[in-house]
Symmetry: C2
Subunit: 351 residues, 2 copies
């Protein structure tokens, strides 16, 4: 926090009272959502933006396209299990998949800091190519800018993606219905912990690697099998908690989770305790939740478990009517607590 009047405040203050951008405005939590609502949705006014989805669905005369963009500013550029290039490809592939689209083409725009070793850039570009091949997409257009030393930070990459929607479902928070089952594709927290561990110079007995991976395949399999997917969301900045609070708020429904069944690896749980993090709020780059009608639950689980990236899929909760926007979790020892959106200060620049 860098405004002196913040010290000692008990509650998060509305953004109108922050005259300057804070790191927390990029953290994927409440402050970021307020910034987006107040500045961008208000200025740009497109209805696609207020759908609060990972990308926009564009209606053409001849069909529907998904269109999405993300800037990647992760620091450090290389981390256990991945690098900024792999992240930039998989992240945008995943945003397309979360729109229920088959990823088709990507763009890649680079903002380079003067003095960056050319070899570093080469390694990142080759990692992007491998990731693109792995996700069956092509990088077809790009841009390169260079900023003075000290006006950037090595490399920032912005990828955008276009995908094709080959079904008639509307996959969005607005399609979530009371009674829907929430399926999580695998264990959470590895990406955020991998980044923070390398930043803090901590080594665990075994290195925790990022979960960074493309998610189009499990999603396409659900859709091709005719599962009536209501909503999909990848669990990036802000983690599982932010994703579910945002969906509960947008759909005006409530969500009940069961902590006991949410998969978290033991080493990740230990690292979270060490750092004082709740795994629910830690970022992932290869995990998603799917909202499906209860009748499709078993079929969806079986399909997801047949794909390596979602082999550990679990039902983690259900959707109910009433208490719009409320997300609760039944703890391991039986109590129930509220899951709120983080303000955004937890882990900046993890993606």
């Amino acid at each position: 926090m860098n405004t002196p009047e913040d010290s000692g405040m008990q509650c998060p203050r509305p953004i109108a009272e922050y005259p300057r951008v804070l790191l927390a405005h990029g953290g994927g939590g409440r402050l970021m959502h307020e910034l987006i609502e107040r500045i961008f949705i208000s200025a740009f006014g497109a209805i696609e933006l207020s759908a609060r989805h990972d990308g926009a669905v564009v209606n053409l005369d001849t069909g529907r396209l998904a269109f999405t963009t993300d800037s990647y500013v992760v620091h450090p550029l290389f981390f256990p299990g991945g690098d900024i290039g792999m992240l930039a490809v998989n992240g945008t592939v995943n945003d397309l998949a979360m729109c229920g689209a088959r990823p088709l083409v990507l763009s890649a725009a680079f903002i380079l800091e003067e003095g960056l070793p050319v070899e570093t850039l080469e390694n990142i570009a080759h990692s992007m190519r491998r990731a693109a091949d792995g996700a069956a997409v092509r990088i077809v257009t790009g841009d390169t800018k260079v900023v003075e030393r000290g006006k950037g930070h090595g490399v920032f990459i912005t990828t955008s993606g276009v995908g094709i929607i080959e079904h008639d479902l509307v996959i969005a928070p607005s399609s979530v219905r009371p009674g829907d089952t929430i399926i999580q594709s695998g264990d959470i927290g590895r990406h955020g912990i991998a980044i923070i561990a390398v930043r803090e110079g901590l080594a665990f007995e075994t290195t925790i690697e990022s979960d960074c991976a493309p998610l189009a395949e499990p999603v396409m399999r659900l859709l091709n099998a005719g599962v009536e997917v209501h909503c999909l969301r990848d669990l990036t900045r802000g983690g599982l908690a932010s994703a579910l609070v945002e969906i509960a708020e947008t759909s005006r429904l409530s969500i009940a989770l069961d902590e006991q069944v949410i998969p978290v690896r033991e080493d990740v749980r230990g690292a979270c305790e060490l750092f004082g993090f709740d795994p629910l709020y830690v970022a992932n780059e290869g995990r998603f939740v799917a909202f499906v009608p209860s009748r499709d639950t078993e079929r969806a689980l079986a399909i997801l478990r047949g794909v390596p990236v979602s082999a550990e899929a679990q039902v983690i909760g259900t959707v109910a009517d009433g208490n719009p926007g409320l997300v609760t979790i039944k703890s391991v020892i039986g109590g129930e607590r509220l899951v709120d959106m983080p303000s955004g200060e937890q882990l900046p620049r993890i993606c």
Copy 2:
């Protein structure tokens, strides 16, 4: 230049000898092209990239789309005649138009530096909305990241765009033919001079304003009238010279220009003399060249002159066989000189 061994070099050195990224690698000249060829085209391998066009044309079963991206790092953020937001919208609209596409939707990804005044961001966002309305496109998806103070520079914006191609032409350097006429849409050099003047704190008798403007309308009019457009290129980083050298090299044809008919405003010419610039190399953000068969020249000129942004359109040269990649210009006093691509050191961060 920041490698000591560069001092005193007569010729530009191949990029393989630069171990680190230089500001000149982002200048739109020879060094940037070498960086793109060596790193990105080599790694990504998509044929669309080697077409060296402003965007990619994507073939769907149901038609053709254009897809493009650009990062904007212009400094200062606000300048006479525009700002980074207006530039980010018009620049991407123009890249779609240069593919012969009708711009449809844009994405906007922001990399904000901690401490940026929120009011500045608000002004930029509203300027983007006005520019989008002016170009009849919608900003439908976006992203926000925040980096630590001193790791960015106020705001960087990456816009991507999707457009629809509603004709059967292949508008690309490879479609240029011997005998084609080169039409320039208006006077050159205003954007680059506007930026450098405000950076250097220089005031002229009248303020030189950027030419930043959307170019989709004149292009759509040419196409709707059935003009057989062979190639289009907006004259951004590297100016008219870089654009024409790149097209001459890619098409393996030669280009002859007539300096006397290239429109340059008197105040811009004066400022160029003051700064030691050749207007041919100065950036524009609302100017383009069109390559058309000679039989369509008069019709194309009449159409362009009917739209305010291209009211001063002029034929500036022709394409010929032989001497692949050669661009020559007949000077005002009658001599002929070679037009080469700049190395890229002239004006960094103008877009």
